[in-house]
């Protein structure tokens, strides 16, 4: 009988990074399909541009750092960053927007800090915030949902619009965003904010055609689809429940309190949960294992903090949506969360 000596670690992660990342983008498929259905083919072109840029940037960085290029391509983390960024930006944004954003995410946010597993900020969200701060006009020009749009863009028309700024029939992005009455329409969260600033009640604001049965037209189903994908990730245990539940609670509880106290001036919790990037953020962005807190309790607090920050920025801040800012701010607090939620090693301290 032989005794085999095995070096630690003795317990193994069941999946490699590559497998985890593959699950993540498989679970993104329903959300992306819904996004394409409601907001046009531009999303596909943004995805292609983002992936091409991410792979080029990743290869460039690995070569500069003298590391094997193939290993970086194989773990798919750059791909997930690219996909998350591409679906966060408006579908018909000019091509250089996504190229600058993805290059910044990969080169500066990821590789300058040391590559996979070393970055302190979520690369996709840092890239998004750079774009939002640098190019506010392009980054807030969300196309109308197809039901309201006056112009139907084919797959190739979308490409022409993204690369030249005009469709083959001569419309620019501003004209495409006009509704039947010739008024440019904002996103649901944006128009709610404007309406509240104009002393309208929420019920009056919800009369606008941009709203659907329970949240923004189109946006409600996009969020529902991301929720579906997120539940799949939970089911296959790629992510644990702590961050998504924390974030949704952190957003819904303050929203519900505000709504109960003044239903005329507060956005209802359902509207909060199914608007903007809430579900995408809760299940796909905040759950990034590198930049989130480490322990389970820590992750719950991390999620709660993001949710509350989203509520706070949406309600009192200067921007209509807040997931990116909330995630980055919470990333900064991770060292403190980790310090105070470090699990007690068995036999050392703790309650006796």
């Amino acid at each position: 009988m032989t005794f085999k000596l095995a070096a630690s670690p003795h317990s193994h992660q069941r999946r490699t990074t590559q497998q985890v990342m593959r699950w993540v983008y498989l679970a993104l498929i329903p959300g992306v399909m819904t996004l394409i259905y409601f907001f046009g083919w531009g999303v596909i072109w943004q995805l292609l541009l983002a992936i091409a840029t991410a792979w080029t940037a990743e290869a460039l960085c690995m070569m500069l750092r003298g590391r094997p290029v193939e290993s970086a391509w194989r773990d798919h983390t750059a791909l997930v960053t690219a996909v998350l960024l591409a679906i966060s930006i408006p579908g018909f944004a000019p091509w250089w927007i996504i190229v600058i954003g993805t290059a910044f995410s990969i080169i500066i946010v990821k590789h300058v800090y040391g590559g996979v597993g070393q970055n302190i900020f979520n690369p996709a969200m840092a890239g998004y915030v750079v774009l939002l701060i640098s190019f506010p006009v392009q980054m807030t020009s969300w196309p109308l949902p197809v039901q309201l749009s006056q112009v139907d863009l084919s797959f190739l028309d979308s490409a022409v619009l993204i690369f030249t700024g005009y469709t083959p029939s001569g419309y620019d992005i501003e004209q495409l965003r006009m509704g039947a009455d010739g008024m440019t329409m904002a996103t649901p969260l944006d128009s709610l904010r404007t309406a509240l600033n104009h002393q309208l009640t929420i019920d009056e604001a919800l009369q606008q055609p941009i709203f659907g049965s329970f949240a923004g037209l189109g946006w409600q189903w996009v969020n529902a689809a991301f929720l579906l994908g997120g539940l799949v990730l939970l089911k296959v245990r790629v992510i644990s429940w702590h961050i998504p539940v924390g974030m949704l609670l952190g957003l819904a509880v303050p929203a519900a309190l505000a709504w109960l106290f003044s239903p005329d001036q507060s956005v209802s919790p359902v509207l909060h949960l199914f608007s903007g990037a809430t579900m995408l953020g809760a299940f796909f962005i905040a759950t990034d294992p590198v930049t989130a807190a480490t322990s389970k309790r820590g992750r719950l607090y991390f999620g709660l903090l993001i949710g509350f920050l989203v509520f706070a920025i949406r309600t009192w801040g200067g921007y209509p949506d807040a997931v990116a800012f909330a995630v980055l701010l919470a990333n900064m607090t991770v060292p403190i969360i980790d310090k105070y939620t470090q699990p007690v090693v068995y036999g050392h301290g703790g309650r006796t």
């Binding site: 500066i108 750079v130 701060i133 640098s134 190019f135 506010p136 006009v137 392009q138």
Partner: protein
């Protein structure tokens, strides 16, 4: 410390902006264009020379216990002089630099030199040290301003006439036309990111020089004399 050493210390080895990381507040706040950066750099340079000379001359009479307030008073005097001069002769630049001219008083690089060098050395060397430290600071400001102006606006030396007179309007170079400026480069975060890269490049150059300086020791190969 001889003059060559002081030059090397001020411009590279002990550069106030890149190594001591002093005076970062004006460094990051006003370097959106080369003109602003050069203006603030020159103002800081003049204050630094003046304060270094004065501190060095009075160093025998200032009691140790109250030296810091005395240094601050000296620096504040020179800053006021510079501020009034700028108000008189380069009014446009004076307005675009705004609060950052009076804030030179709080620039740690200046009081740092007064404390570390001028209060211990004769006045000629102190003046030269002020000049070199000021030049090192100005150089970094200008490089940073250049990077941010090119990335943000696609221009160089925009508004140079505010600092150098009307002829300098011809210095303006438009490298490329931007429809949408990269606001990040002009806003403070861009300054932090660009500054990080400049420091990284400096460290990389130092690392490279160090490696070249220390040649690999000669390998001594011994002849085996014993039988195996």
């Amino acid at each position: 410390m001889n003059y060559k050493e002081i030059t090397w210390q001020g411009l590279w080895e002990n550069n106030p902006a890149l190594v001591q990381l002093l005076g970062l507040c004006p460094l990051l706040a006003v370097t959106a264009t080369v003109t602003n950066a050069l203006g603030l750099g020159l103002a800081t340079l003049l204050v630094l020379i003046g304060s270094n000379i004065t501190v060095s001359l009075v160093r025998e009479w200032v009691p140790k216990e109250i030296r810091i307030p005395v240094f601050v008073m000296v620096i504040a005097t020179f800053v006021t002089v510079i501020q009034l001069l700028m108000n008189a002769y380069v009014y446009g630049l004076y307005q675009s630099l705004g609060i950052f001219i009076p804030l030179i008083v709080t620039n740690c690089a200046i009081i740092g030199r007064a404390e570390a060098f001028a209060s211990k050395n004769p006045w000629r060397r102190s003046a030269y040290d002020g000049l070199m430290m000021g030049l090192g600071f100005t150089l970094v400001l200008v490089v940073l301003g250049g990077i941010r102006e090119v990335l943000g606006n696609g221009t160089l030396f925009d508004g140079a006439e505010l600092l150098l007179g009307d002829w300098a309007a011809a210095l303006r170079i438009e490298l490329f036309a931007v429809d949408y400026p990269l606001l990040l480069a002009i806003l403070p975060p861009g300054a932090f990111i660009a500054m990080g890269f400049i420091i990284a490049i400096k460290n990389a150059i130092d690392h490279y020089r160090e490696q070249r300086a220390t040649k690999p020791a000669k390998e001594v190969t011994r002849v085996r004399v014993t039988a195996q």
